[in-house]
Symmetry: C2
Subunit: 286 residues, 2 copies
């Protein structure tokens, strides 16, 4: 087993951890500043959000690789079902394809998918998951042609009304089974999955070769806001070592992507301090 106490090559930064540079949060760093700061600290990769890339995907991807890192992924496809979709079916699919194209231009091997919530007018999640499966199936060939894998991320059940209709890894794997294309897998996020006591068994039984991302943060026992109060690793109750053992036991050997949405705490700190903390916590706790 690798000695993770010294090795940060598996560590990737999801740029949301630095506050998205929106609403006065974060330091307003450019992608180039983030790249340099992560390279200096030994990060192995970066995951960007589409809003940060604009029309500079090729340039930014090359900049990351020139700094000795990889673009580990891109966040994210648009909501594919539920009340928060971005328009009619044609608009949703066009934005989905645009996200795939951006991932390809960046050189990101993985695009993260979040499902979106319950379709207006329906009850429960079944109809919404059928709609979701249909839209993924219709984009999967285009993604394959671009060399992009799609990572469906189950979200915490608290988002079950508006943001997700896929709440567990088991449900995400069910959906992968239903769509049945080789470039669709799952992302396992500590925040969304830490509570699921069946997770190690589900991963061992069903996830081999299908885990496309592992996202690190923590669940604060006194979570004050379910969207923007995630904990840094160690600040909460998730069993981080057990979760990593479970994803790696299922064959995952990709990056550990730190993604902390924290409007009241980490987003208010200097980015350099946040990155130093990420490295230290990763080395000692993850």
């Amino acid at each position: 087993m690798r000695d993770f106490s010294a090795d940060t090559s598996a560590l990737a930064l999801n740029t949301a951890t630095l506050g998205h540079n929106v609403d006065g949060q974060g330091a307003g760093w450019s992608p180039e500043q983030v790249i340099d700061a992560c390279a200096a600290r030994g990060f192995g990769g970066l995951v960007f959000w589409r809003r940060e890339i604009g029309d500079r995907a090729v340039e930014i991807g090359e900049r990351v690789r020139a700094a000795g890192m990889t673009v580990a992924g891109l966040c994210r496809a648009p909501f594919l079902a539920g009340p928060l979709v971005c328009g009619d079916d044609a608009a949703i699919m066009a934005e989905f394809r645009a996200a795939i194209d951006m991932a390809a231009a960046l050189g990101a091997p993985v695009l993260t998918l979040v499902s979106g919530g319950v379709e207006p007018g329906s009850k429960g999640t079944r109809d919404s998951r059928m709609r979701l499966a249909d839209r993924i199936a219709r984009a999967a060939d285009h993604a394959a042609g671009c060399g992009v894998a799609l990572a469906l991320e189950p979200l915490h059940p608290v988002y079950g009304g508006d943001r997700t209709c896929v709440m567990t890894v088991a449900e995400a794997l069910d959906l992968c089974d239903a769509v049945a294309v080789p470039n669709l897998g799952i992302a396992v996020d500590v925040y969304h999955c830490w509570w699921d006591s069946t997770l190690p068994q589900v991963l061992a039984d069903r996830a081999r070769g299908r885990i496309l991302g592992y996202h690190l943060c923590d669940w604060r026992a006194d979570t004050r806001d379910v969207l923007l109060d995630r904990g840094m690793m160690g600040d909460g109750v998730a069993d981080l070592k057990a979760l990593r053992r479970a994803v790696e036991a299922a064959g995952y050997a990709g990056p550990c992507e730190v993604e902390v949405f924290s409007a009241a705490d980490w987003w208010r700190r200097p980015p350099g301090e946040v990155l130093d903390t990420v490295v230290e916590r990763f080395r000692t706790l993850c």
Copy 2:
């Protein structure tokens, strides 16, 4: 099958739906006023909270039965694990026994248990569930002697840090299996369980004879506060008819207990209007 469109005998009110008479919410109705208002509307039962009963348990229980209804249950035992427990082990067990005694004095056949969250200093939920199982096991004989069954209620994973270490019906049944006493079962609450796509199968496979309560409300798609923004039946995305079919297919024939915590909406309305709405929604949607 009963004609539920006319029959409200299965309908029980959890008094929390009227605002608990605390913090300026609700109408400040006495237990007697609640009893009369529910009897007049054809409710079959009532579920009280301990704070409303004080030392009047026998008197209030008799008053409910004189009005032609049953005391369907009592909320609730103290947190049995995690950061919100009420003191040391002796204090927790004393309060647990006091809650059992109050249920017996009321003539309530069921006491609701919520587990409490993650034990301070531990990670994940395993240690906390062992602590919980131990405390339930140590109180179960006393409850049996009082004729009181214990209904362990899995809570929504959003409460996983501080209020629960049992997030799903399957986990609650696992814990019942571990404790293995005849007077321990589960409560199924729409708010906590609506999102779980495995629920019908889990209930069919494992819950026969073990469902001691079914709690009605709804999950609002735009839930604004995870503690006090529950929806009235019909205001959200839960598939209420499918959930009731699932609990009844597993043999449950007890009351449907309406429990709506709604500080910003229903608790601000006149209690008579709330009760009328409960009856109408139950008849048409549940």
